[in-house]
Symmetry: C2
Subunit: 267 residues, 2 copies
């Protein structure tokens, strides 16, 4: 069994991801696909007159400020447009996919962080009414039920808070939580870059391998969204996943390539 | 086991539907909820600069002209915003709900009608590139799996065509297909009217009961969206459902009220 996370940034080839995933499923391997939708959420938010607002937390991580209106747009794009378009592609490739959010069957449960401290122009500010949070518990019952029934789960944020509210959570870290809860050997995190780059502008500067003991010295290279992917990888390996591969979803056979070691392998 | 369909028109009290459904589920009854999202789809379509276009078929039924762009907006609202908001409400009421479309597990399968003949200004015209269709087959495997696992399915269009495309289908008729495939005794169809009215403007003119043998003489009262509800009811009863109740979703306890005979009972 493997967990594959595919991002939501520009340039990702979902057709390639879905046809590659289909051949892996047909070979008898169980796969759970986790996906994002950030670029499309930005586009739809703009069109709806509610431009996205990205904030940087005091600890340096970037996230989407998510009031209730933003959360509903987020759900429209992640759970509606993106999720159903991926399910449709998988069905076309002969995979009996089932699209879900973390609300469904409470798969991803965690705490809402209603007040977040952000850095704005070098100063700290507290934002309230934010529906973001962190997955702390994975309820596997529904996932096992589907896998045992021959279905392929396609999972996307939001998660659900202990107070039963939908919360925006980071997809990479949620996928890492899922991977370690399922005790899979491999977690593949695909995005629109070849993996961790020493120089963000230079795709030739790929870090091909990171032994877990040396992760600290490599995390400094991670910029922007890559920071959370590395954080997710660290959490997954700490919690028992043997190998995490950061791979490129702009190329053909992105999952197969990552599984064969192309990208940044963390073990 | 019962199937409840709740519409997507203005005035529907989803909180009331969800809390009522929760108490029925807690009493030990299995429920499958099917929902729509038409009013919200119209609102979002307008905001996205793609106003809805309703067309009337040559046989007199109204439907949404659904090109691919409209289909994606439809999925955003039905599968994203509406579905996840209902799942969230049910979770808050202690029901372990799982939100799905007809694509997931191919629950609703049917044929796409790429060319539809419409009436426009009294003249017939053929529209092409339309992603609408009709549910012809219900694949119950996933529904049974969820019910047996203690989950409550929350189902919404689109369905999936035999060529693996998402297709817009009528929710009332799709719910009727589901109800007869599941061989349930009762199908409850809730909307923003008290049931079938003799005079559409007069809520006092409710038809309380229609023996199936006399359905023909009552269908003439059905206007607009009520026509498809009656059509769905006829199809459900013809295929083995014992009773269909058209009830009011603007009131407290809408499902319980309908089950106790308030609304239009067709049997």
């Amino acid at each position: 069994m493997i967990v594959v996370k595919v991002g939501g940034s520009h340039g990702i080839d979902y057709e390639a991801v879905c046809s590659d995933l289909a051949s892996i499923v047909k070979s008898g391997q169980q796969v759970i696909l986790v996906h994002g939708g950030s670029a499309e959420t930005n586009r739809i938010s703009e069109k709806l007159g509610k431009p996205p607002r990205m904030v940087t937390s005091a600890s340096g991580y970037e996230s989407r400020y998510t009031d209730r209106e933003t959360l509903e747009i987020f759900e429209m794009v992640y759970c509606g447009k993106m999720n159903k378009s991926i399910v449709e592609k998988l069905q076309r490739n002969g995979v009996n996919a089932v699209g879900l959010s973390g609300l469904d069957g409470r798969i991803w449960e965690g705490s809402r962080k209603a007040a977040i401290t952000i850095l704005e122009g070098g100063r700290k500010r507290v934002l309230r009414d934010d529906f973001t949070g962190k997955v702390e518990r994975v309820n596997l019952e529904l996932v096992h039920l589907l896998l045992n029934g021959g279905f392929t789960p396609v999972l996307t944020p939001p998660a659900i808070s202990y107070e039963h509210e939908a919360i925006n959570v980071d997809g990479d870290r949620a996928a890492a939580m899922l991977a370690s809860a399922l005790k899979v050997d491999k977690l593949v995190i695909l995005s629109n870059v070849p993996g961790l780059l020493r120089e963000i502008q230079d795709e030739q500067s790929l870090v091909p391998e990171i032994p877990f003991a040396e992760i600290e010295e490599f995390t400094a290279f991670a910029k922007g969204r890559m920071k959370k992917k590395i954080l997710g990888a660290v959490e997954a390996i700490r919690d028992g996943v043997k190998e995490v591969v950061l791979g490129d979803a702009r190329k053909p056979f992105p999952i197969t390539e990552a599984l064969s070691g192309r990208g940044t392998v963390i073990h």
